[in-house]
Amino acid sequence: MAQSANDRRRINGPEESFPPVFDDDDEDIKLKTQRSRAPGDIRPIFLQPGLISQANGSAYIETEKTKIACAVYGPRQSKTTTYSEKGRLNVEVKFTPFSCTRRRAPMRDAEDRSIGVSIHQAIVSSIRLELFPKSTIDVFITIIENDGIEGCIASGSLAASTALADAGIEMLGLVASCSAAIVGDDIQLDPSEAEARASSGTLILACMPALDSITSIWQSGQMSADLSLKCMEQCHERCIDIHSIVAQSLL
């Protein structure tokens, strides 16, 4: 992987370096995609609010191999001078260089921004932004360990919602999010990276169980309309369970 152009600001290594190639790579892939859980089971969630003392609100979420820290700063003054009646929500996602199997350059790229947009979409309708004119709420998410983008977006939305609640920002409800992957005709909830890669399509659903409303659906890949509707229903049911976990951790 070639070094980035941000050379001047960091300590640099050699111009080009390559991740190690393993001699038994092909056999390994077949083992990894065998799922050890039932298709409807999600991985256990560990959610801890209030870990970052410097921030107004924070949360740390861990589900097996996905570790995400989230901090909320705000409401604070907007940098722009244009007047806005409603507050702004700014979601920024950052991957640590060691979070993925291949080292990521520390620069932010398109993938970070697209995850930021998904999480923004999931939580923006739950916050009462009309109470904070001219202000910005900053949500910073750092992905410490990554096990699939779907898992990141789902866990990231949970962490963001918990951090906002920890910061005492007025919300309409907590947001719960669940991801799913389609393998053949089966729906597997909470896929890991290997499972998602082996699937034909994935779906991420975010909703507010307290108000029984859905805030965001992100679907990619191939799936028939019936299957995707069934998938959404299953995710929705699971979100209600996840919601109680989030509420319990905030007590």
């Binding site: 300590i11 050699p14 390559f18 991740p19 393993f22 921030a55 920024e92 060691f98």
Partner: protein, 279 residues
């Protein structure tokens, strides 16, 4: 007839007034505590915050460590990649340390490229690791002149409550000690290197060292392990790096002049601290 409810302010009011005073006049607030020989968080001048190190929790990294020094939380991960060595140093691998202070860790950092503080910290950490020779770069050689290991040691601060340098150095050393490299074989004919997943061997760390930071206020008060509130108010900051045999690796001082006896006292305290942490 009691008027006590009017004359005694409630505890919540007092806390609020103390917080406002802290925001408006930080230096005077700190000096009031110093006059009583105590610090705002309750420690004495010599006390260090409790340190906890958790190694090996990140599976995607070849080695990792999470260090908590009081509230300062730093997570460090090591990723190993293969590169061609420099022409004039064909048997030496690369060690690339970096620290990132993202916007998540403190309200004073804004999102964007590394700030001056992060760049200075990265550079100091690089000097400390390379100059001390803790990891001989020749141990990272796979095939002289063709393939060597490059270790990217990346630290990310999750919560910044002062003294990031000490915590980052501890995290980097912890991550390096936790790192295992797969066995690599270089194929002369194809020029490719393949690794084996089965055998992994740890790095050869020859030296173990700890860093201790102090802040000096008014040339006479030496506070060890300053927090994020105390750090900007210090006149002089002093960092001493000592290895586990008691030898001095480096001393850095910035901000102003200090007395020689203060410097010697700090070096001695750093040596005591290194012994304390070793146990």
């Amino acid at each position: 007839m009691s008027s006590s409810s009017v004359t005694n302010p409630s505890a919540a009011d007092e806390t609020l007034r103390a917080q406002i005073f802290q925001r408006l006049h930080p230096r005077v607030y700190l000096e009031r505590f110093i006059a009583e020989n105590i610090r705002p968080d309750g420690r004495t001048f010599d006390e260090w915050r409790s340190v906890s190190v958790n190694a090996g929790s990140i599976s995607t990294a070849d080695g990792s460590a999470l260090v908590r020094m009081g509230d300062t939380t730093i997570v460090c991960g090591v990723k190993a990649e293969i590169a061609e060595p420099e022409l004039d140093r064909p048997e030496q691998g690369f060690l690339v340390p970096n620290i990132d202070l993202p916007a998540i860790c403190s309200p004073k950092f804004k999102p964007g490229p590394p700030t001056e503080e992060a760049q200075v910290l990265s550079d100091r950490l690089n000097e400390a690791l390379i100059a001390s020779g803790a990891l001989p770069l020749s141990s990272l050689c796979i095939h002289p002149g063709k393939a060597v290991w490059t270790l990217y040691v990346d630290c990310t601060c999750i919560n910044y409550d002062g003294n990031a340098f000490d915590a980052a150095l501890l995290a980097m050393l912890g991550a390096l000690r936790n790192t295992t490299l797969p066995k690599a074989t270089y194929n002369e004919e194809t020029g490719r290197t393949t690794c084996s997943r089965q055998t992994r061997s740890p790095l050869q760390i020859t030296r173990n060292f700890t860093s201790t930071s102090f802040g000096v206020l008014d040339t006479s008060h030496v506070l060890s392990d300053p927090t994020a509130f105390e750090e900007p108010l210090m006149d002089v900051t002093l960092t001493v790096i000592v290895d586990d045999r008691g030898d001095l690796i480096s001393t850095t001082e910035s901000g102003g002049a200090i007395l020689e006896e203060t410097l010697l006292r700090c070096i001695n305290r750093a040596k005591e601290r290194a012994l304390q942490l070793k146990g």
